[in-house]
């Protein structure tokens, strides 16, 4: 029985280190290869030894697909390909391919240079890893091999994020990665056609949330920022260098311009300017509005937002700082946070989801005393605000996508178990689609019943179609043919053609029955009576009286003969082939009953 098997190595009932194994029609695909921000030990990377104990990964995996550049989706890639060892193709979109290595390098620097970790992947490994990448266009059908094909769809979320369809024959799986169903200030909304996959693997970060309109949240955000700087406070917005940062920058930039504000806005790290440049060069991936107006004004050229210098953090007076990373788990944002946390005039706005174990998660869950490295305790007096700007689909959006793609079943990843449970029920009840939510290392097996494609000879097909067009063809009609199976080549042809192709002669089986009738009239007259009788009974058939005195019904031949012995008896010879058997045997029994008396 063909089946699809799915095993999350990461992101099963969890957010972080997305990594999902899919086996479909004998092909093995790994979806994403992420790291976990909440861990610093072995658990930060997926357990690749699950894939194969002693064999090479390259032999086992047909391809690896990376949905977007966030580290929880690609952070383990150099470790996987260079340290564990994988040489097969890695697919991602062009913007992902461009940005991914930069974020990986950044991640490596923090881990090795700042935390002093040994046995981490090197810069060279990132480079070597990226050499294995094959870039894909949106909607391009990439033929991984003769049978396996993949296709990318726009996912919103961040620049270059894509959903992927993985297809073998008539079986398919769609993996969404992270996606956003509402367009924001810089990106468009995810979209997929009605591709009816066997399985849709979707993220479910916001499985229980239904968010209010974006406008309200934006107003709220601007109000809070504005109020804080008005009273002389400093605003820290921890962000990831690419994605939300650009959206919020556009938002603040336009607000500053409208309100004519002079308070400085800074963007930390050199990465940012570079990041904005990517947005400028990958304009076709942004939303409609930006695409339309970029010639007049490129939205990613900011006037009010300047580069941040470490020394600025101690400057007096109000300011707004965007700093990386977004979950306050390391780096510059954490440094600034430590400096500003003690002052209640200041504010930190968390614009996105924070993984368990990060400082961001701790302060959002209300913790005000944080234990830092070296047993230090940091008291948080500054205001802590959370605004959901992260571009994940909410419950409504997830349902919407399921409705768009019309999958046979849904599998949830990248979310918290409790929330998943809720969404699972909702999907099963409202959409009547079976739904799974495996934990890491747990395998879901879905039996599939793919139909088998064969070639049908056009002659046979046309013959059937013409008959199918007749108005009486209400009831299902049977198509009859012969399937020729030669190696892996399957062809359905008419039986005549099959015989001919195989050089087999047709064997004709013919029956002739003698029907004895008492009748004294002459043969010709007799035939005429048979003809008119049959004509009146068989209205739908072609009944003909031939010049030689015989009568035909379709291809059945009826001849009248007079045996010499008895002039009062006539014999009708009814002759038909095996293919006309029903009609032939019907005719003999009909004639046996005798002919009706001629109307006088």
């Amino acid at each position: 029985m063909p089946e699809i098997r799915v095993t999350p190595l990461g992101a099963g009932q969890d957010v972080g280190r997305s990594c999902i194994l899919v086996s479909i029609a004998g092909k093995n695909v790994m979806l994403d290869c992420g790291m976990h921000m909440g861990f610093n030990d072995d658990r930060r990377f997926p357990d690749f030894s699950y894939i194969t104990q002693n064999g090479r990964l390259t032999d086992f995996l047909d391809c690896v697909i990376i949905s977007h550049f966030h580290l929880d989706h690609c952070g383990a890639l150099p470790y996987f390909s260079e340290m564990v060892g994988y040489d097969g193709p890695i697919y991602m979109t062009h913007p992902t391919q461009a940005i991914c290595p930069i974020l990986l390098e950044d991640y490596r620097k923090i881990a090795v240079d700042k935390k002093g970790e040994a046995n981490f992947f090197t810069s060279q490994m990132i480079k070597d890893c990226m050499k294995k990448v094959v870039a894909v266009h949106l909607h391009q059908t990439v033929q991984v091999d003769d049978e396996l094909e993949i296709k990318a769809y726009y996912a919103g979320h961040v620049l270059g994020a894509a959903m992927f369809q993985i297809k073998v024959g008539s079986e398919s799986v769609v993996y969404t990665g992270d996606y956003n169903m509402t367009p924001d200030r810089h990106l468009g909304a995810a979209w997929i056609d009605k591709c009816r996959p066997n399985l849709l693997i979707t993220e479910s970060t916001y499985a229980t949330t239904i968010r209010d309109s974006k406008r309200c949240r934006e107003r709220d955000f601007l109000k809070k920022v504005h109020e804080t700087v008005e009273r002389g406070g400093k605003v820290l917005i921890p962000v990831f260098a690419l994605g939300r940062a650009q959206e919020l920058c556009i938002l603040l930039e336009t607000f500053w311009e409208r309100m004519n504000l002079k308070v400085p806005i800074y963007f930390s790290t050199g990465l940012t300017e570079k990041a904005n440049h990517y947005y400028k060069l990958f304009i076709p991936w942004t939303n409609q509005k930006i695409r339309k107006t970029f010639v007049q004004r490129n939205m990613f050229e900011f006037k009010h937002i300047k580069a941040f210098d470490r020394a600025f953090a101690d400057n007096p007076g109000p300011m707004v700082v965007f700093a990386t990373p977004g979950m306050l788990h390391a780096g510059q944002s954490l440094q600034i946070f430590r400096k500003w946390a003690g002052n209640e005039k200041n504010m930190v706005i968390m614009p996105g989801y924070c993984v368990q174990g990060t400082v961001g998660h701790k302060i959002l869950s209300g913790q005000r005393k944080l234990e830092m490295e070296g047993r230090q305790v940091l008291e948080v007096k500054m205001q802590v605000e959370y605004m959901s700007f992260s571009a994940h689909a909410d419950a409504k959006g997830i349902m919407q996508l399921v409705g768009q793609a019309e999958p046979e079943s849904v599998l949830l990843v990248h979310g918290e178990a409790k929330k998943m449970e809720f969404l699972k029920q909702k999907i099963e009840q409202e959409l009547r689609v079976s739904c799974y939510m495996p934990a890491n290392g747990e395998t879901v097996t879905l039996p599939t019943s793919p139909s088998i494609p064969v070639g049908i000879s056009l002659g046979l097909l046309k013959r059937e179609m013409v008959q199918g067009l007749l108005p009486e063809a209400k009831k299902p009609r049977l198509l009859h043919g012969t399937l020729i199976m030669k190696d892996s080549n399957f062809r359905l042809v008419s039986s005549e053609q099959a015989l001919k192709e195989l050089g087999l002669a047709e064997h004709q089986l013919r029956f002739t029955c003698r029907v004895h009738l008492h009748d004294t009239r002459k043969e010709q007259e007799m035939a005429l009576r048979v003809y008119s009788h049959l004509k009146s009974v068989l209205k739908d058939h072609c009944v003909q009286h031939l010049p030689d005195g015989s009568v035909t019904v379709e291809s059945i031949l009826i001849q009248a003969a007079a045996p010499s012995e008895d002039p009062g008896t006539k014999v009708l010879l009814v002759s038909w082939t095996y293919q006309d058997e029903e009609l032939g045997s019907f005719l003999t029994s009909l004639l046996k009953k005798g002919l009706p008396q001629a109307p006088s």
């Binding site: 062009h94 461009a98 870039a135 266009h137 391009q140 059908t141 990439v142 570079k274 440049h277 400028k280 060069l281 990958f282 304009i283 076709p284 010639v295 019943s449 139909s451 088998i452 494609p453 070639g455 049908i456 000879s457 179609m465 199918g468 299902p476 009609r477 049977l478 198509l479 009859h480 012969t482 020729i484 199976m485 030669k486 190696d487 039986s495 099959a498 015989l499 087999l504 047709e506 064997h507 004709q508 089986l509 013919r510 029956f511 002739t512 029955c513 003698r514 004895h516 009974v537 068989l538 058939h541 379709e554 095996y578 293919q579 058997e581 029903e582 009609l583 045997s585 019907f586 029994s589």
Partner: protein, 567 residues
């Protein structure tokens, strides 16, 4: 009749200039497919054209001359013009926008299903940003349409040749207009002539389209001007869409050649003209009016349109610079004969250099390509099957392939020489399970299929036949004709032959006695004397002749069938 056209596939932005005429003024209701760069740059070309035409509005337009009798009397080239009655006014921007809004954007290697029957796929053709060749295929047939392709390495993504393999038919068009000129040599000549003129204090005029080769020329100049000591000479690009064209060229990273792509990954703009603009070496203006007149410095290099020299800003420069022999006009666009373009400006003192840069396939590249992809048949315009009229001895300037290419002419219907034999059909797994294959020859198995055919949107599906309905016991007395069997229930064909001896043994086993076998010329006759039945057995036929005893007939039939294979 364009209302019968279902789909238009656009190969590159030069091939869509007439689109508004079709989408706006005929009954066309189908779909148009094109890549995003094609649409965006096509829009720019149309916008420029409309702008140029609308700058010089004509209060009146004459049409009486189109009368054949009058046209005949007019001087050449008017009297030789063909089909003047079909000539149209230029469309408006509104019509352009409406036409472009009807285009569906597609990406390279995207498989687009049309009506469930065929699949079309654009492939990179290497000629221009977003330029495509198309594959039109069903499950068993493949037609490739190759138009405007280039094997040279310029800025676009290289041509995808591998996907053209195994074509039944390859339609080949859009070859180079100037098969004798080598584009690389022409670029060199362009640069050296430009440098020579500017050094002597003259100006250079380059009539051109606002997109395409100009990107490559600017890139060459970027590398050339410093080494030639010309860094102070201003480059002007004048077109209503100059700015847009330069900006758009930078954002199509995914459609560019590998070198340019890797620049974007850094991230840097893929084309060096960004730097030329930044350092003020290249300036662009929407027209000669406004800012340009203030900034204008001579000697200089001006890129402007239209390359036909009949309209656009280029006309002003021809008149401004035509009288001085210091100046040079360099023709790079291959679409127009430079002599004809210059005719109205004669006598001219300025130098005229003809450096046509046409990167499309030449005949040598074509024969290499055809050898590579090996299509079964090649179809091309008639012109390509004979040497150009001006060089009738150049037998190398024509398509040479085996079997010879089939040619077509305008408005001619060409029947393609292949027959469709198969189509795809899906067999439901339940049905597939119920099939009983038997091996006829080694490696070849057969299975008889009786199934219900479902056809929807040109997709065919075979489902298992329904279970026979329970006979309904109607109270009404049936009429005779109700019993007439439905002859549409198909009986299988039979094959094989009947070994007489075994057949007789079988008959005996089943209780028949008194069997007599007679040999005939072609086979045997088996006589069942008791039952007055006679069975003629030949190599490929069996004939059962019996009295009207249905029971007996059916018994005999079943015994015969045991020896035969059903299909």
């Amino acid at each position: 009749d364009l209302s019968t056209v279902d789909v238009i596939l656009i190969s590159n932005y030069h091939c869509m200039m007439a689109l508004p005429y079709i989408t706006e003024h005929t009954g066309f209701t189908g779909t148009v497919y094109a890549t995003e760069p094609t649409v965006q740059i096509g829009r720019l070309l149309m916008e420029e054209l409309v702008n140029f035409i609308e700058r010089v509005p004509k209060a009146q337009s004459a049409s009486l001359w189109k009368n054949k009798d009058i046209q005949r009397l007019l001087p050449s080239p008017l009297k030789d013009a063909v089909e003047v009655s079909t000539w149209r006014r230029c469309y408006t921007m509104q019509e352009v926008n409406s036409a472009l809004s009807k285009i569906q954007l597609v990406g390279y290697s995207q498989k687009i299903e049309l009506f469930g029957a065929v699949q079309v796929t654009p492939l990179s053709s290497g000629y221009a940003l977003g330029s495509s060749n198309w594959i039109i295929q069903s499950h068993y047939e493949k037609v490739s349409y190759v138009s405007g392709s280039s094997l040279l390495t310029t800025h676009p993504q290289p041509m995808d040749q591998a996907s053209l393999k195994n074509s039944d038919v390859l339609v080949l068009t859009g070859l180079t207009q100037i098969p004798t000129a080598n584009p690389d040599g022409m670029v060199g000549e362009f640069c050296s002539n430009l440098a020579l003129t500017v050094r002597n204090g003259g100006n250079v005029l380059v009539p051109c389209y606002p997109s395409g080769v100009i990107y490559d020329l600017l890139e060459c100049l970027y590398q050339y001007i410093d080494s030639a000591g010309l860094s102070s000479v201003p480059l002007y690009f004048i077109s209503p869409v100059a700015n847009s064209s330069l900006e758009f060229s930078q954002i199509f990273a995914e459609w560019l050649c590998h070198n340019k792509q890797s620049k974007v990954y850094l991230p840097e703009p893929p084309f060096p003209h960004a730097e030329l603009i930044q350092t003020n070496k290249l300036k662009h203006y929407p027209s000669i009016h406004g800012d340009f007149s203030n900034d204008f410095r001579q000697p200089c290099v001006v890129f402007t349109g239209h390359p036909s020299l009949r309209f656009g800003d280029v006309v002003h420069f021809m008149e401004l610079w035509g009288k001085s022999s210091l100046n040079t006009v360099i023709f790079t666009e291959p679409d127009f004969s430079y002599l004809e373009a210059l005719a109205p400006y004669q006598p001219l003192a300025m130098k005229c250099i003809y450096c046509p840069i046409d990167t499309r396939l030449n005949f040598i590249q074509v024969s290499k390509l055809l050898k590579e992809v090996q299509p079964l048949h090649v179809v091309c315009p008639e012109q390509y099957t004979q040497p150009p009229p001006a060089q009738s001895h150049r037998m190398d300037l024509m398509i040479d392939c085996q079997p010879p290419a089939m040619s077509y002419r305008r408005a001619e219907v060409l029947a393609l020489p292949f027959k469709r034999r198969y189509e795809k059909i899906e067999i439901m797994p339940e049905l597939a399970d119920s099939l009983v294959p038997m091996e006829i020859k080694p490696g070849i198995s057969l299975a008889t299929v009786s199934a219900v055919l479902h056809t929807k949107d040109n997709k065919h599906l075979l489902q298992p036949p329904p279970r026979p309905a329970q006979p309904t016991s109607g109270k009404k007395r049936k009429r005779v004709s109700d019993d007439v069997p439905d002859c549409k229930v198909l009986k299988p064909l039979l094959s094989g032959s009947i070994p007489v001896e075994q057949f007789v043994q079988t008959l005996e086993k089943h209780g028949f006695s008194d069997i007599k076998v007679e040999d005939t010329a072609k086979g045997h006759i088996v006589l069942l004397q008791e039952a007055e039945t006679l069975i003629q057995i030949e190599e490929d036929s069996t004939h059962i002749i019996c009295d009207n005893d249905e029971m007996l007939r059916v018994r005999l039939r079943d015994l015969v069938l045991k020896f035969l294979q059903k299909f």
